[in-house]
């Protein structure tokens, strides 16, 4: 097999990011004490370009790399992969925009930071293109190792290192499950290819056990209950922009890979083997309820967002159940939800980044610390209200349309009860999302009020504004994204 350069063209969006990342790492050797804002700019340009290239290629035929057919090609660049790549690139882009002022504030202004974000995005892209489980594993590890390092980047903050160690140990543990599952599937089917997996209709015990272990690995990565214990601590301790990136990017990549797995491999066995639907449903219900109830009792906003992100994984699992039932629209619904979730969550973390205080620490993240912010920083208050309303799933935001799409898919898959559970979860979530708005606008402000540093920077403002724009755009004019998700799912043969 000889590889000619043009054959790599479908990978250009990813290769470009690898190039930029290496450039950033190399330059870091010579950079000395200089300001690293240039690194953020370079990363943003790279991610933007990569996103553009991915989206531009949507609609072109599927490209199989290093293989001749679906059964032996490790990388499949179809519309599904392209849309997913654009999504994770967008997540990386907004996260990179949120970072410079935070990094300067926290005193860890390194060029490597952006390099790591780019590598993580590349890993996510590989996950979305993976035609076999081994490639998927490599993508996952590329992403995970980069994110472990990002989490621990504030090496002198005990919370950050603690979060990093917890995330690392739990992540590696999950990897162990995943890999063992992959090995068992390989044993059962003599191949790791998803397409081959799809031809095995009746699951042998070995195959069933393998898929179960893979699912456990997934459940860890998306922080589904009961595999969610690590999430709150990690989210609280990680640098705020990284938390945002982790909450959306890792989740998006994992769900997108799961979607491909369900639609090519697991889906077939799910329809013949009735064990998966109840297990996935139970996972979804538990995740929604536990995530929401625990978010309710949090006093720290970052931690609340962590638990709420657990519950969002639960809503997405509803979509996975519907997809496993063979509902064609479930996949587009998941991609749509992930997109709007990306923007609203990154936006919320962006606002938190804005309000981060120099000294840091958990005190500045409590609800009370935000009293009166809505009036002192009107634009910031409006943006935060928008993100909270969107996360709660209210119109006219992308969060609402995403939930609507997801729950409709569940109803069409005749899983109305799951939609009802999702709705009940959303209702609980309204309470704690409102608490943020209450803190921002309705609490008495002690005089003189707390004065967050309000780290202003053009990049941060742009990041939050972009997020706000897309949250509204997806709520009011979702048609363009709907078309994209549709062509993504069509490329999977649906």
């Amino acid at each position: 097999m000889s590889i000619s350069l043009p054959a790599l063209e479908p990978l250009l969006p990813g290769l470009l990011l690898v190039g930029v990342a290496i450039l950033l790492l190399m330059y870091e050797v010579f950079a000395g004490q200089a300001d690293r804002t240039y690194a953020a700019h370079l990363a943003v340009v790279g991610l933007g370009l990569s996103m553009f290239l991915s989206l531009k290629a949507v609609g072109t035929p599927r490209a199989l790399l290093f293989g001749t057919d679906l059964a032996n090609a490790p990388l499949i660049v179809d519309d599904f992969a392209r849309v997913a790549s654009a999504l994770v690139a967008a997540a990386g882009l907004v996260a990179a925009l949120l970072s410079p002022s935070y990094a300067k504030n926290a005193g860890h202004d390194h060029g490597e930071y952006y390099g790591l974000i780019l590598f993580a995005v590349v890993g996510m892209m590989i996950m979305s293109m993976a035609g076999d489980l081994m490639t998927f594993f490599l993508g996952l590890e590329t992403m995970s190792i980069a994110v472990y390092a990002l989490t621990g980047l504030r090496a002198h903050d005990p919370r950050s290192t603690e979060a990093a160690l917890k995330y690392f140990l739990m992540g590696a543990f999950a990897t162990g499950f995943l890999l063992f599952g992959i090995a068992l599937v390989y044993g059962a089917t003599a191949s790791v290819s998803l397409a081959t997996l799809a031809t095995f209709k009746a699951g042998s015990p070995l195959l069933t056990l393998g898929i179960a272990l893979i699912l456990i690995g997934f459940a860890f990565k998306v922080a589904a209950v009961p595999f969610h214990m690590w999430a709150p601590d990690v989210y609280e301790g990680a640098p705020t922009p990284v938390t945002g990136f982790m909450a959306v990017g890792v989740k998006a990549a994992a769900f997108i890979a799961l979607l491909r797995l369900v639609h090519s491999g697991l889906g077939v066995s799910a329809q013949t083997d009735s064990t998966w639907i109840p297990i996935l449903s139970a996972l979804a219900v538990l995740t929604i309820l536990v995530g929401n109830v625990l978010a309710l009792v949090q006093q720290n906003v970052k931690r609340m967002l962590a638990y709420s992100s657990v519950s969002h994984a639960g809503y997405l699992l509803i979509g996975v159940v519907a997809a496993a039932r063979g509902e064609a629209s479930a996949g587009s619904a998941i991609i749509f939800y992930l997109t709007s979730y990306t923007f609203m969550t990154l936006g919320a973390f962006g606002v938190l980044t804005f309000l981060e205080r120099k000294e840091g620490g958990p005190e500045s993240e409590r609800y009370g610390a935000f009293a009166g912010i809505g009036f002192r920083h009107p634009a910031l208050g409006m943006a935060m209200s928008l993100f909270m309303v969107a996360l709660a799933g209210m119109p006219p935001t992308g969060g609402f349309f995403g939930k609507l799409y997801l729950f409709t898919a569940a109803i069409r898959a005749e899983e109305t009860w799951l939609a009802l559970v999702g709705i009940a979860g959303s209702l609980i979530s309204v309470y704690y999302y409102l608490r943020v708005i209450v803190a921002f606008y309705m609490r008495e402000v002690p005089e003189p009020g707390p004065t967050p540093t309000a780290t202003r920077s053009a990049q941060l403002t742009l990041g939050v504004a972009l997020a706000a724009f897309f949250v509204l755009q997806l709520g009011l004019f979702p048609a363009p994204l709907l078309a994209l998700t549709k062509s993504a799912m069509l490329s999977l043969g649906l």
């Binding site: 709705i423 209702l427 409102l434 309705m442």
Partner: protein
């Protein structure tokens, strides 16, 4: 010149555009902000009068604007009016400038945010009244929740956060149930989606499914109305809300619940609605009496008015449950009348509160001599609210009682009797309140220096009083607009469920002797396929009984 449909869209979105413009104003210039907002809402009121002028009598939707919006989901930007929507739209645009004027001195801090919230709220309410697409309706329905939440939570009283969150969670709980039902209705058996109301009206469901869907909608709307027993958020919200919030809440927001029943819940699920009508009717009469009794014992004026709203809205729901043209038209009329008298009451209570910072009845007494203008307005308002003939409260309640008495299902007479006691109780608690506030010896020395109403306050109330009198004397002004739509509504429900309403109603009428015109049955409903000798399907006749209420204009038919 704008097309009527474009005027409709302009009426809905002008306030939102105004809010965006006001966001650019400097925050410190309070008078400018308030003045511009009042100017905008007044302009919007005048614009909405064009809708009134363009409205042709008839039962269907008019001035429709139907634009493609989210094609893959069958979602359209579809606005349109019938008579019921029209009067509620006018009520909204009419109240808005008065509310802002009334709040001129009450809201002194965060003025910019206040006017923006009010204007955004107006767009939400207007949009909900004229949406003919379920998705669009839901969007407006939820969107108005947020500004109201801010109004209560930021400018409210001591327990404002509790009240605001309670308001939000209650309403949201109902809305989410409704959302599931909307999704089920919009999912077509063929596989696609269609969120348009017209399609929803044609769908048939299995009886069990229909019942579930109906209750999902009904609970959402019942919370908003609010019906007993899901009314508990209302007193909290009213007591804690600033005057402007209370005025809009009572004046318009509650009406959206009633409107939802009329536009969506009943016509979409006629069988389930008719089956549920006895339950709704009982809850309505319980609400009427319960609200009145609780209002009677309230020491706090605002709470008293809040519970009186529960009682009055019970009449609206009773009229709907009766499922007769009189009942439905009466229900809408009660909505309008309540939307005039209760805002006036809240404004008056707010004026007292601004001066004395107390709303406790016992702190007042005998202030009529100190504040004669105020006393005059309060007495007028109370009489209008209590349903005295020749004032706006009367025709609606009368029609509801009439419609209920002649209702095709047998419970009508019992309901009428119980509800009639509610009318009496309303007079009792309102006059009791007036007496305790205005008359008797002036005992509390703090009331010695009470200032009477100033010019601004008088200007705020005069339009409301004029309307109260005008609608009392000449109810056909709006009954003419409501009636065809009400007839069509009753028709839709009865036709959808296949009951021969005409025969039932006729029988009831003869036995009860409440015929308005002895020679012809007062309601002629064309029932498809069941009434070959009657008017062609879709035709409809005037209900003479409604015109008989006009006190000034001669009744032409007789």
């Amino acid at each position: 010149m704008l097309q009527p449909a474009e005027i409709l869209a302009a009426v809905v979105f002008l306030p939102l555009v105004g809010a965006l413009v006001l966001a650019l104003f400097p925050a410190g210039d309070h008078n400018n902000l308030k003045g511009t907002a009042i100017g905008l809402t007044t302009a919007n009121f005048l614009l909405s009068l064009l809708l009134w002028g363009n409205f042709r009598p008839g039962p269907g939707y008019q001035m429709e604007l139907n634009l493609a919006w989210i094609e893959p989901f069958g979602i359209h930007f579809h606005l349109g009016l019938d008579g019921i929507s029209l009067v509620l739209v006018i009520l909204t645009t009419f109240l808005m400038p008065l509310t802002l004027l009334g709040a001129w001195s009450a809201v002194e801090h965060r003025v910019k945010e206040f006017v923006i919230a009010m204007l955004a709220l107006e767009t939400g309410m207007l949009g909900a009244f004229v949406s003919l697409d379920l998705f669009l309706f839901y969007l407006f329905w939820e969107a108005m929740l947020i500004p109201m939440y801010f109004l209560i939570g930021i400018w409210g009283g001591q327990r404002r956060i509790y009240a605001a969150v309670k308001f939000f969670i209650f309403t949201m709980a109902g809305s989410l149930l409704m959302l599931v039902a909307i999704l089920v209705v919009a999912t077509q058996p063929t596989g696609g989606f269609d969120f348009s109301l017209a399609t929803a009206l044609t769908r048939d469901f299995a009886p069990q499914t229909e019942r579930l869907l109906f209750w999902a909608f009904a609970i959402a709307f019942a919370i908003k109305v609010p019906m007993f027993p899901v009314h508990t958020w209302l007193p909290d919200a009213h007591v804690e809300a600033p005057t402007a919030g209370s005025v809009i809440l009572a004046g318009v927001l509650l009406k959206l619940g009633v409107y939802g029943f009329v536009r969506f819940a009943f016509p979409m699920f006629p069988n389930a609605a008719l089956a549920a009508a006895p339950v709704l009717g009982w809850l309505a009469v319980i609400g009427i009496v319960y609200g009145a009794l609780v209002a009677w014992v309230q020491p706090d004026m605002k709470k008293l008015v809040a519970y009186s709203s529960v009682s009055h809205l019970g009449f609206c729901m009773l009229g709907l449950a009766a499922m007769t043209t009189e009942g439905v038209a009466g229900a809408i009329f009660v909505c309008i009348a309540h939307g005039i008298s209760t805002p006036a009451l809240f404004l008056l209570v707010g004026m007292l509160y601004e001066r004395r910072h107390t709303r406790v009845l016992a702190d007042y007494g005998g202030i009529a001599r100190k504040v004669p203008i105020f006393a005059f307005f309060l007495v007028m308002t109370v009489m209008a609210s209590a349903g005295l003939p020749a004032l706006s409260g009367f025709p609606g309640e009368f029609l509801v009682l009439l419609g209920t008495y002649t209702s095709p299902h047998g419970l009508g007479r019992i309901w009428t009797i119980v509800a009639a006691t509610g009318v009496i109780l309303a007079a009792v608690y309102l006059l009791w309140m007036t007496q305790r506030v205005l008359f008797g010896p002036l005992q509390n020395p703090a009331n010695e220096d009470l200032q009477d109403m100033n010019a601004r306050e008088i200007v705020t109330l005069v339009p409301l009083m004029v309307m109260a009198v005008f609608l009392g004397l000449h109810p056909s002004t709006i009954l003419d607009k409501i009636e065809p739509a009400s007839t069509r509504f009753v028709q839709l429900v009865h036709q959808g469920s296949g009951t021969n309403y005409q025969a039932d109603a006729g029988a009831l009428r003869r036995s009860s002797g409440v015929q308005m015109r002895p020679t012809t049955p007062s309601i002629q409903l064309p029932i498809r396929g069941q009434n070959p000798g009657g008017p062609p399907p879709g035709a409809f006749q005037r209900v003479p009984g409604l015109r008989g209420l006009d006190m000034v204009a001669p009744v032409k038919e007789q």
